[in-house]
Symmetry: none
Subunit: 419 residues, 2 copies
Amino acid sequence: MKAEIITIGNELLETGHVDSNSAFIGERLTLLGASVTRATTVPDDPELIRKAIENGIAEADVVVVTGGLGPTADDRTRQAIARVLGKKLVLDEAVLATVRAHFERRGLPMPESNLSQAMVPEGARALENRAGTAPGLLLEHEKTLVFVLPGVPVEMKAMLENYVGPYLEGRGLKRLTAERLLRTTGVPESVLSQRIGGIAKRLARIDLAYLPRVTGVDIRITGRGDTLKKANVAAESAQERLANELGDCVYARGEESLEQVVGYLLVMKDKTVSVAESCTAGRLGWTLTKTPGSSDYFVGGMIAYSNELKKRLLGVKAGILKEHGAVSAETARAMALGVKTKTRSGYGIGVTGIAGPGGGSDERPVGLVYIAVSGIRGEKVREFRFAGGRDSVREQACQAALDVLRRVLLNLPGAPDVP
Amino acid sequence: MKAEIITIGNELLETGHVDSNSAFIGERLTLLGASVTRATTVPDDPELIRKAIENGIAEADVVVVTGGLGPTADDRTRQAIARVLGKKLVLDEAVLATVRAHFERRGLPMPESNLSQAMVPEGARALENRAGTAPGLLLEHEKTLVFVLPGVPVEMKAMLENYVGPYLEGRGLKRLTAERLLRTTGVPESVLSQRIGGIAKRLARIDLAYLPRVTGVDIRITGRGDTLKKANVAAESAQERLANELGDCVYARGEESLEQVVGYLLVMKDKTVSVAESCTAGRLGWTLTKTPGSSDYFVGGMIAYSNELKKRLLGVKAGILKEHGAVSAETARAMALGVKTKTRSGYGIGVTGIAGPGGGSDERPVGLVYIAVSGIRGEKVREFRFAGGRDSVREQACQAALDVLRRVLLNLPGAPDVP
C-alpha cells in the first residue's frame, strides 16, 4: 500500500515555520505497514492544492492531507478537494451543529466565517474533531482513500489516531516491518559503512539507514517479513550481528542518549562525576543534567574559560600552562584531577581546546581538543581534531568527553592515550 | 520566478525525523523574491528521486535539492540527477582532492566509499562544501537551475548562503519586500499583540508576524512597496514605531542574540562576567561563549549542582541554605556574590531553581527560579515562575538570566527586586 502526505500552508514555505506534521504522519503510516512514497507541501493556493491532490490520487492508495481547513479566507482545502472530485460543497447540518456547540461551550457566538467549516464535498464523510472546530474529511476516489485533517498538530494527531489508524487496520493493512537502532559516536559514516556494508548486503530482509549527526551516526535497521514476528526476528538478529561487528563505538542499542548511558553506568558503580570545562564552557554540565535525577551522580564543576581561573579554581600549575599551553594534554589532565579533588567526586573530566574561529595556529589548529578523565586509576587523556565551525567543534568535544568517560567506566581501550 | 524544494531521505518519511531544511530554504528563497510553489520529500529511492526532480524541473525556474549526497549506498541523489539529465557521472579530480584533504586534516585515510562523492554528472559544476565532505552540484536543464546541496543542515545552510543566494541575486531577481526584526523576551505573545496589534493594523504596507520561541518572541515586520526603497522605508518606520511602543522588552532591532547584546554592553563598559549555575548547570556559560571572542568579557564560573558545592566552591553559608533553602532569593544572591568574588569578575550571575520533573512542592513548584546579578551597586535578585518541561524551564532561566544582566547594565527598571 502506497501512501502520500500533503501539507498545506504559506507559512511552511515562506516564513521558516517547520512542518512537523509530515514526519509524524509518515512515521505512523510506516508503522501501519504503508510505504510512504512522497510528502508534498504547497501554499494556500487553490490551483496548487488541486494539483497536489490530483498527483497524490494518481500515485497512491492513501493520501493524507493536512491544513487549510480553518475558517479564514486563506483556508482553501475544501474547495480544492471538491474541484478535484468534481463535486459541489454542501452544508452538513451535523457538522454545523458541532461547530456551533464548540462556541457555545465557551460562551461565544459563532462567527459567520465558521459556517464555511460545515461545507463538505458531496459524498464525503465528515470526521469529528474533538479538539477544535475544523472537521476532517474522508473521501474515496478511484480506489484512493483521501483523509483531510486539520493542520494544528494536536488536532491532526488525535484524528490520525482516531480515524486513519483504525480505518487502515480495518482494511487489513498489517505492519510487516520492525525497527532497531544502533547509536555510535567517534567513527565517520563512511568508515562504519566500510565495516558493515558488506555484511548488511548479505542479510536477508534488512534495510540499513545511516543517520549522521554532529555528535555521531545512528544506524537504523529495518527488518521485513510476511509476519510482524518474522520482521522483528530479522531486525533483532541483524542488530546483534552488526553491533558485534562494530564493537565499542556502539554506545546504545536503543533510543538512549550517550549522557543517559553514562549516567546509568555511574549509578551502577555508585560514583559521581564533575566537570572542568574550558572550550565547552558549560555544555558538558548542561548535557549531563538533561536527564531527570542526574543529581544522583553529577555534582557540578568549574567553567575555567580564562587561564587565570584554570589556576585559581582548578589548581592547574602556572608552569604547566607556561610550558605546554592552555590547550595541551597536560592542562587537560591537571583540570580533570583538579576538579575531581576540589569537588570530591569519583571522576573528573577536563576539556580544553580551540573552538575557533580565531586562536588557531599551524601547530595547534582550530578543532584541536584535549579531553582527560581522572578516575580511580589515574588519568586518561585523549587528543581530538574536529572539523566544522565553533558550535560544531564544541558539540563534538562535549560528546567525545562523554565517550571518554564511558570508555573509562567500561574499561574499554579506546584510542591510544596521549602520553 | 517559481522555486521548488526537494528533500531526500527515508528518515524524513519513516522515522519521525522532522525535515527542517525545507522551511529554511523556503524562507531564504522567499526573501530572495522567489515564489515557492512546492516542497517535496521523497525516500532514498532512485526512481522516486528521479521523478521528483523531473516534476520540479517541469514546473519551476529554480529547484533546490538536499540530501542523499553522502558516501554510503543509501545516498542516491547523484545517480538520480545524472539519469534525469541523461548524463554520465564522471570523476571530478578537484572534488576528489578536496574530499581527500578533508580526511588528511583529521589524520585518517580516505575510505574508498568516499570516492563516490567525487563523481559529478557531466556538465555540472561542483560546489565546494567547507563544512563536510559532500560537495554540492549546480546544473542547468531546460532553463531551470538545479542546486543540489547536502542534507546536513549546517552544511546546507552555509552553501545556500554562499552559492544559491549570490547566484539568484546575480540573475537580477528583485526583492520588493523588506524585513525588519524586533526581538523581545519576558513578555508573552498575546500581551505583545495586545500592545501593538492596533497600531500595526493602521500601518500601511506592513505585515507583522509573531514568532514565539521558548526564549522569547521575535516580531518580524515586512514592508512592501513598488520599489525596494519604499519597502525599506515602510519597514524601517514601522520598526521604530513598534519598538518605542514596546519599550525595554525589546533587546535587539536585528538578528543579534541576547548573549551578543550582553557581550557588547560588557565590552563597552570594559567589564567581565562570571556565572554560578545550579539548575541551568552550564547552559549560561555555554550560551555566553557562543559568540567568538567572548573570552574578552567571560571568565568562567562554577556549576554548583549540589548544595555541598554551593558551600565549598561559592562560599554560600550553610545557614542560608538551611534557613531559606537552595532555591531561594538569598541563595541566588550569595551565589552571584560568591562567584564574582572568587573569580574577581566585574559581574557575577547566580541561578538556582527547580527544573523538574521532580523536586517541586506547593510552595516551591517546578519552574520556580531565582536569578541574581551581583555588580558594582550590590545585588539584584528576581523571582521567575516558568511553565513547561525540564529543558524548557532551563532554557527560559538561562535567557532570563541574560536579560537581568542586560537590565543591570542598561540601568533599566525591570520587574521589582525580590527583597
